[in-house]
C-alpha cells in the first residue's frame, strides 16, 4: 500500500495524521487480500472547492478497456469534507466495495462511464451559462458572489489599468514603426457581467485622451461569449462605449470559426476564468502505466429519494427528467421556478464515480487538438513518476484556435487558475469543483506552453498580485522568434 498525502498546506498535518490512522485501522480490519493490498493507493486530498463532485471517501478501481478489473485500486479521502467521526466507517465501507464485484446499484446514475470530457457535468455547465438569469433569480445573488473573493479578479481596477497601459505602449510602438493598423481590434472572450470590458474601455479612453494619441476612435472591441443572455448583459454594461463595441456569440473552443476574417488582425485578446470552465480529461500514471480517468455521475439513494419525493417523480424517472432539463431547460419541470429548484437540487447532489482505464501506451491517450503525441511524451518526461494531471482539452483547443487571430505583434492574456509545471501536480489535488452551477477546474499551463511553442509563442505565467491570497495567475504570450 502506498499513501499519498496530496496537500502541503501548513496546519493540516494533524487532520492528515488522524485520517491516516483511521485508514490504517480500517485496512487492518478489512481483510483485503495481499494482492489487492499491495496495489492499494491511499490519497489524502484537500479539494480547493468546498463544493465538488466527490463524496468524502471514494474508491477508484483500475480496469482494462474491456472493463476487466485490475489489481490497482485507489482510496481517496477529501480531508476538507470528511468528518473526523465518520472517516473510519466511510473508509471501511469503501474498502468493502473494493472487494465487492457489483457497485452499489441503489445509486441513481445520470450517465454512463465516459472520459471526463464527455461527462454530463459539462451539460450542466452549459445550461448554467445559458440560463444564468434563472439560476441567479433562484439563488437571489449574482454568480460572481460565488467566487472565493465574492467578486471577479477580472474587474480589479489596478490590473485593468496595467493591462491598458501595456496595450497603449504596444500601439505607440507600432505607430512609431508606421505599422499601426487603421482599425485596432481588441477582444474579450467570456465576458462575465461586462464589468472588465467597461473598465478597460473607460481606462483606455481616458489614457488616450490624456496623452492625446487618438487611438480610442480606432478601437474595435469585440465582446465574445457563447451565451447570448451573458452578452446582452455585458453590452448593457459597456453602453457608453457602444460605438466601439460589437458582441459576437461564438464557441469558446473555436473562436477562429466565427472570426476567420480577423485572422492575424487582433492586437489584444483577454480571457478571465474561461479555460477553467471548459471540458478536460485527466490522465493518471501509476507504476509506469498510463490510465485515462473515466467518470459516471450519480445521486446517492437518499438524495435521489428526496428529490423524487419533492418533485413528484418516480426515482427511476430521475435520469430521464434530468436529461430533459439539460436538453430543453428547467421549464419542463412544472414551471420555470420549480424547474430551476429541481436543477439546483440535482446539481448539489451530483457526484462523480471515477475509474482508471488502462491505456496500452501514450498513443492511446486523447491528445488535445493542436498537440501531438510527442508533446504528451515531453510532459510525461517532466512529470513525477506517479501523477494525476489534467489534459486540459478544452483550454488547449480554445488556445490553439485563438492564437491565429493574433496580429503578429499582438498578445493573448489569460487570467485563470493554472498549474504551471508538471511537478506542481505533486503538490496537491487539482481536481474539479463546483462554482455555483458551473464547473471549475485547474488548467494545465505546461500543456498550453507546449501548444504555444509549436504555434510560435512562449507563454509566461505571473501570479495575480493585485489581490493578496488570490490563486489566480495571468498567462500571457510573447512571440517565439
Amino acid at each position: 500500500m502506498i499513501v499519498h498525502v496530496n496537500q502541503f498546506e501548513r496546519g493540516r498535518a494533524a487532520p492528515s495524521g488522524e485520517a491516516l490512522a483511521c485508514v490504517l485501522d480500517a485496512v487492518e480490519e478489512s481483510g483485503l487480500d495481499s494482492r489487492t493490498l499491495a496495489s492499494l493507493r491511499v490519497h489524502l486530498d484537500w479539494i480547493q472547492y468546498r463544493a465538488n463532485f466527490r463524496d468524502p471517501v471514494t474508491v477508484r478501481r483500475a480496469t482494462e478497456r474491456d472493463g476487466q478489473l485490475l489489481a490497482l485500486a485507489e482510496l481517496a479521502v477529501d480531508l476538507r469534507q470528511a468528518a473526523a467521526h465518520a472517516i473510519r466507517d466511510d473508509v471501511s465501507a469503501a474498502l468493502a466495495a473494493i472487494g465487492a464485484e457489483a457497485a452499489d446499484d441503489r445509486r441513481v446514475f445520470l450517465d454512463d462511464w465516459a472520459p471526463l470530457r464527455d461527462s454530463i457535468i459539462w451539460r450542466f455547465n452549459r445550461l448554467f451559462w445559458q440560463r444564468l438569469g434563472d439560476w441567479e433569480k433562484a439563488t437571489g445573488r449574482g454568480f460572481e458572489h460565488a467566487l472565493p473573493s465574492g467578486r471577479s479578479d477580472a474587474n480589479h481596477p489596478d490590473a485593468v489599468a496595467d493591462a491598458v497601459a501595456e496595450f497603449w505602449t504596444l500601439l505607440r510602438e507600432l505607430e512609431k514603426r508606421g505599422q499601426l493598423p487603421a482599425e485596432v481590434f481588441a477582444m474579450e472572450i467570456g465576458v462575465g457581467t461586462g464589468g472588465r470590458a467597461a473598465l478597460w474601455l473607460d481606462r483606455f479612453q481616458a489614457l488616450d485622451e490624456e496623452r492625446g494619441t487618438g487611438y480610442y476612435p480606432r478601437v474595435r472591441f469585440l465582446l465574445c461569449d457563447y451565451s447570448l443572455p451573458t452578452l446582452d448583459r455585458a453590452l448593457e454594461t459597456v453602453g457608453r462605449h457602444r460605438d466601439a463595441v460589437s458582441m459576437i456569440a461564438m464557441d469558446a473552443l473555436n473562436p477562429l470559426k466565427a472570426l476567420a476574417f480577423l485572422r492575424y488582425k487582433i492586437l489584444y485578446i483577454h480571457l478571465t476564468n474561461v479555460y477553467d470552465n471548459l471540458p478536460t480529461d485527466e490522465l493518471v500514471r501509476r507504476d509506469g502505466r498510463l490510465y485515462l480517468v473515466e467518470a459516471r455521475a450519480y445521486v446517492s439513494p437518499a438524495n435521489a429519494a428526496g428529490i423524487a419525493r419533492e418533485f413528484g417523480i418516480a426515482p427511476d424517472a430521475l435520469r430521464a427528467t434530468v436529461d430533459r432539463v439539460l436538453e430543453v431547460g428547467p421549464d419542463v419541470v412544472e414551471d420555470r421556478a420549480r424547474g430551476t429548484t429541481f436543477w439546483r437540487a440535482v446539481w448539489d447532489a451530483l457526484r462523480l464515480e471515477e475509474r482508471l482505464v488502462a491505456l496500452a501506451d501514450v498513443a492511446e491517450a486523447p491528445v488535445p487538438p493542436g498537440l501531438h503525441q510527442g508533446h504528451l511524451e515531453a510532459l510525461l518526461d517532466a512529470a513525477p513518476d506517479d501523477v494525476r494531471f489534467q489534459l486540459s482539452r478544452g483550454a488547449a483547443e480554445s488556445f490553439v484556435n485563438t492564437l491565429p487571430l493574433l496580429h503578429p505583434r499582438g498578445y493573448l492574456q489569460v487570467q485563470d487558475i493554472f498549474v504551471t509545471s508538471m511537478d506542481e501536480y505533486r503538490q496537491g489535488f487539482r481536481g474539479p469543483g463546483k462554482l455555483d452551477g458551473s464547473v471549475v477546474n485547474w488548467v494545465n499551463g505546461a500543456l498550453l506552453a507546449a501548444a504555444a511553442a509549436r504555434a510560435g509563442y512562449d507563454v509566461h505565467v505571473a501570479p495575480f498580485h493585485y489581490r493578496p491570497g488570490s490563486r489566480t495567475s495571468i498567462l500571457y504570450t510573447t512571440q517565439r522568434d
Binding site: 485572422r263 501531438h372 493574433l406 503578429p408 504555434a455 510560435g456 517565439r480
Partner: protein, 333 residues
C-alpha cells in the same frame, strides 16, 4: 504558347510531417544517430520530390527537409560561427549562435544537396538560400563593427557557395529574405549585401520576400511599398512575393516602378489548411497578369509549405498547377 509561360514553382520548403519533426527532435535529444537521421532525410527528400512531380510542378526543390529551419542549417556550416547545441530541444527553434571572429571561406554543403536533388528529378531543380540580412538578424554579432559589416562578409563567404552551385549545374537559385519586412529601414545596406552575395553567379537568381512564416504565422504586417525603390537596385532576375494571403494590391507596384524583374506570384496561402480551388488560383493569376505581362510571371505558393500537413500541401500544389493550366489554356487559345 511559350513553354515557359506561367512556370509553376515551389518557394522552398515542403510539408514536415509530425513524425519527421519528432525524429529531428530525437536527434537533438541524442535518441537518434546522425547516420539514421541522414537516411531519414534522404528518404523524405525523395518523397517530397515525387510529390512535387506528381502535382505537376515545373521548378522544384528538395523541400528543404534536411534543414531544421531557415537559419540553423547555415549557422552550423559557417566557419567562425559558434553554435550552442544545447540551446534548443525542438528542431524548429533557432540555436543560439554567435560569430566571434572573421568568417572563413568554406563549403556549406549545398552542392551536395543540389546533386542529390538533381539525381532524382528531371524537372528544373532549385536551391533556396537564406540571405545575409536574415542571417545577421538571427546570429549574434560578437566580432563585426555593425550588422552591415557582418552581412557583407557573410555575403562574401556565401557567394563562393552560390558560384559552386552554378558550376555544379544549378540554374535556379533563390535568396530568402523575410526579415526585410520586419526591418525596412535596413533595406539600403541589405540590398548591397544581396548584391555581393549574387555577384558573378552564373545562374538565374530570385529574391523571395514575405512577411514571415515562422511557426506558420506571419511575423509582420504591412505592404510591399517599403521595398520600392530600393529593391530596384538588387541584381536578381526575379522577385518572389506573397499575395494569396494578403491580397494582390501590391502587384501594381511592379508597374508603378517599372520593376526590371520577373514576378514570382504567390497565389497559394500557406497559412491556412483550406485548399484553394483551381478556379480561385486561375482568377488570382488573371488579376495579376492584368498588371504584369504573363510572360514575366511565374506562379508559386506564398512561401514554404513546411507547416502544412502533407495531404494539404500536396492538394494545394495540385490546385496551383491546375489553376495555372486553366490560364495557360486561355492565353494559348
Amino acid at each position: 504558347m511559350k513553354a515557359s509561360l506561367l512556370t509553376t514553382a515551389v518557394v522552398g520548403s515542403y510539408s514536415v510531417p509530425a513524425w519527421l519533426e519528432r525524429a529531428k527532435n530525437d536527434f537533438l535529444a541524442r535518441r537518434l544517430t546522425r547516420h539514421d537521421l541522414d537516411e531519414i532525410h534522404d528518404t523524405v527528400v525523395k518523397a517530397a520530390i515525387k510529390d512535387q512531380e506528381a502535382a505537376g510542378v515545373d521548378v522544384l526543390t528538395d523541400g528543404e527537409l534536411r534543414r531544421d529551419n531557415m537559419v540553423d542549417y547555415f549557422a552550423e556550416r559557417l566557419p567562425g560561427v559558434e553554435v550552442y547545441h544545447a540551446s534548443k530541444k525542438s528542431a524548429y527553434d533557432f540555436y543560439e549562435s554567435v560569430v566571434r571572429s572573421r568568417l572563413a571561406t568554406a563549403s556549406l554543403g549545398l552542392v551536395g544537396d543540389f546533386r542529390f536533388l538533381r539525381r532524382f528529378t528531371d524537372r528544373v531543380p532549385k536551391v533556396s538560400i537564406t540571405g545575409p540580412h536574415t542571417l545577421v538578424k538571427r546570429m549574434r554579432n560578437g566580432y563585426y563593427p555593425n550588422e552591415e559589416a557582418f552581412a557583407m562578409d557573410l555575403a562574401r563567404v556565401m557567394n563562393g557557395e552560390l558560384r559552386e552551385l552554378a558550376k555544379a549545374g544549378a540554374t535556379e537559385l533563390q535568396i530568402d529574405e523575410p526579415y526585410y519586412s520586419g526591418f525596412p529601414e535596413d533595406l539600403p545596406w541589405a540590398i548591397r549585401a544581396l548584391n555581393v552575395l549574387v555577384e558573378g553567379v552564373g545562374a538565374r537568381v530570385g529574391l523571395h520576400v514575405c512577411y514571415g512564416n515562422r511557426y506558420g504565422k506571419p511575423s509582420w504586417e504591412g505592404t510591399y511599398r517599403y521595398l520600392f525603390p530600393a529593391v530596384l537596385e538588387a541584381r536578381v532576375q526575379q522577385l518572389t512575393l506573397e499575395f494569396a494571403r494578403r491580397g494582390e494590391d501590391d502587384v501594381a507596384l511592379f508597374g508603378e516602378f517599372a520593376a526590371p524583374f520577373t514576378l514570382g506570384l504567390g497565389i497559394i496561402d500557406v497559412k491556412t489548411h483550406e485548399v484553394e480551388t483551381a478556379e480561385v488560383v486561375a482568377e488570382r493569376i488573371r488579376q495579376a497578369i492584368k498588371l504584369v505581362p504573363a510572360d514575366r510571371v511565374s506562379v508559386n505558393p506564398d512561401c514554404g509549405l513546411m507547416h502544412l500537413p502533407r495531404d494539404v500541401a500536396f492538394a494545394k500544389l495540385v490546385a496551383m498547377v491546375e489553376g495555372t493550366a486553366i490560364v495557360r489554356r486561355e492565353l494559348g487559345g
